[in-house]
């Protein structure tokens, strides 16, 4: 047994177990907190793929930003614990067909893919200088467009928040 394999299965277990809680749990707060461990596990998997920058960004944005926002949203709703989670089965037939098709495709891909069993490279390469250079040369336009879109979203959010205050 390689240390790499052990760590991989550990993170995979964390990710899958917590993701299962997110879906199955009847308590919406448990779901939100279980997401923390899902994000954490996925970040660990990124590290094992030698993508350290993506891993840390995943932690920063999903745990530090989105999850906190989500928790605020959940906690500020009045009924936290006994929320009517609609988990009843409706439209069984189309659901079965779609799920079967999806599962078939996924299993097909799973069997036909040649899964690598070891890390892509032996050691960490310095990824940040490369990412920085790429963002400011080859991918400058998408980078700038993304930043403008984010800025627009930010201004939009501020506008909506302002308007509500005026109405009161």
């Amino acid at each position: 047994m390689d240390l790499y394999i052990i760590v991989f299965y550990l993170f995979a277990l964390i990710t899958l177990a917590s993701a299962a809680i997110v879906v199955i749990s009847k308590n919406i707060v448990y779901s939100a907190f279980a997401l923390l461990f899902t994000f954490f596990g996925v970040a660990g998997l990124y590290v094992l793929l030698m993508a350290d920058f993506i891993a840390v960004t995943q932690l920063l944005i999903y745990v530090g930003g989105i999850l906190v926002l989500l928790l605020f949203g959940v906690m500020l709703t009045t009924k936290v614990i006994r929320v009517d989670m609609r988990t009843a089965t409706v439209r069984t037939f189309p659901a079965v067909v779609i799920v079967a098709a999806l599962a078939g495709t996924l299993i097909g891909i799973f069997w036909s893919t040649d899964w690598p069993q070891s890390p892509a490279s032996d050691g960490f390469e310095r990824t940040i200088p490369q990412i920085g250079e790429m963002l400011l040369t080859s991918y400058l336009l998408p980078f700038e467009i993304a930043s403008v879109v984010l800025l627009v979203a930010l201004i939009g959010a501020a506008m909506i928040a302002r308007r509500e205050r005026k109405a009161l």
């Binding site: 240390l3 923390l36 350290d52 932690l59 920063l60 745990v63 930003g65 906190v68 605020f72 940040i128």
Partner: protein, 348 residues
């Protein structure tokens, strides 16, 4: 080490465990000292004596406190959410301790010499926010939830000035790895980033106003990040009893306390590594070396921790709106000007 490496997987796991357990030994010792120092400094600022009976000048008091905490009953209120209530202290401490792995204590000791360094620290500290929200919500107590909400809002909004201030230091040093950042500042006090770094004289002189302002802002923002006075709204004893950890007792409370103290050291360590030369000696090659490095690093950090304690007994608490005003309308615009200025100077 070689004998252990020959053991294969278990050897490497053992090395990793020992290597990563070193900071916890340090944190425990440091917490004892700071616990004592905080009470003594507070007392002397207020013209009191504090502990005098347990040992010489009360030096045994921290041990007595720990012993007391160990004996206390671990109470969980019946209306609390037991699972999350139990989990929360660990999540908070995990976030803090995870960040210690990228702190360069000395030229030979850094938990994990990763390229991302300070970016990793900023990211992993955000686990603390989630842990605090978890504890506050699970307590099922209105003071706790108020404290947790305030704490989360405060930490999330002060992450922006902190990150921007860190960015300025990174722009000057050109690396996110704190070990590289420290090596960049080697050669004495005049090479520290707070004094412009080891750049040509004209650039350095132009940089100094910007770096000084950034350093001060980073210190202010880090006070808010660790919920210390004047930003202690989440704990505000006179309003919220004890904030998010009101319902906690015994060792679970001690975990929160330890995490808070560890966090104080952590933000100081980041500030020291980025702006005050990390483990480098202020006298150039005089008194430098791996062991002296450890001494200088911890010494500089404890100095900032002392400053944090000092400020606690000097300034009153801010109101919530003043808190947000400071972050968004004062610190952030100043930092934008600094980023622009530093960028311009570095390019010219």
């Amino acid at each position: 080490m070689e004998a252990l490496e020959n053991l294969g997987v278990w050897g490497s796991i053992l090395i990793a465990v020992v290597w990563s357990a070193l900071p916890i030994v340090f944190i425990l010792l440091y917490a004892l000292v700071t616990l004592y120092a905080e009470m003594k400094i507070a007392a002397h600022i207020q013209d009191r004596l504090a502990y005098m009976r347990t040992g010489w000048h009360g030096t045994l008091q921290p041990f007595a406190d720990i012993l007391k905490l160990l004996q206390k009953e671990d109470t969980i209120s019946s209306a609390a959410d037991r699972k999350l209530f139990r989990l929360a202290p660990y999540v908070v401490f995990m976030g803090t301790y995870g960040a210690f792995s990228a702190i360069p204590f000395s030229s030979i000791y850094i938990g994990s010499n990763i390229d991302l360094g300070v970016f990793f620290i900023v990211a992993v500290s955000s686990l603390v926010v989630v842990g605090i929200l978890m504890g506050g919500w699970a307590s099922n107590n209105k003071w706790s939830i108020f404290g947790a909400m305030r704490s989360a809002a405060q930490m999330v909004s002060y992450e922006i000035p902190t990150a921007l201030a860190i960015l300025i230091a990174v722009m000057i040093t050109g690396s996110l790895n704190l070990q590289d950042v420290t090596k960049f500042q080697e050669g004495g006090i005049h090479n520290w980033v707070v004094f412009g770094g080891p750049l040509p004289l004209t650039q350095k002189l132009l940089l100094i106003p910007f770096t000084l302002v950034t350093f001060i802002i980073l210190f202010i923002a880090s006070l808010a990040e660790v919920n210390r006075t004047p930003f202690d709204l989440p704990e505000a004893e006179s309003e919220l009893v004890q904030g998010f950890n009101t319902e906690y007792s015994g060792m679970r409370f001690a975990m929160f306390y330890l995490a808070e103290y560890a966090n104080m050291f952590l933000v100081s360590a980041v500030t020291v590594a980025l702006f005050l030369g990390g483990w480098t000696s202020p006298f150039g090659s005089f008194l430098s070396g791996p062991v002296w490095g450890l001494f200088w690093f911890i010494g500089k950090c404890l100095l900032l921790v002392f400053l944090q304690i000092w400020i606690r007994w000097t300034l009153p608490r801010l109101r919530v709106d003043q808190l947000m005003y400071t972050s968004w309308k004062v610190l952030t615009p100043f930092l934008f000007v600094c980023i622009f200025g530093v960028g311009l100077i570095l390019v010219l």
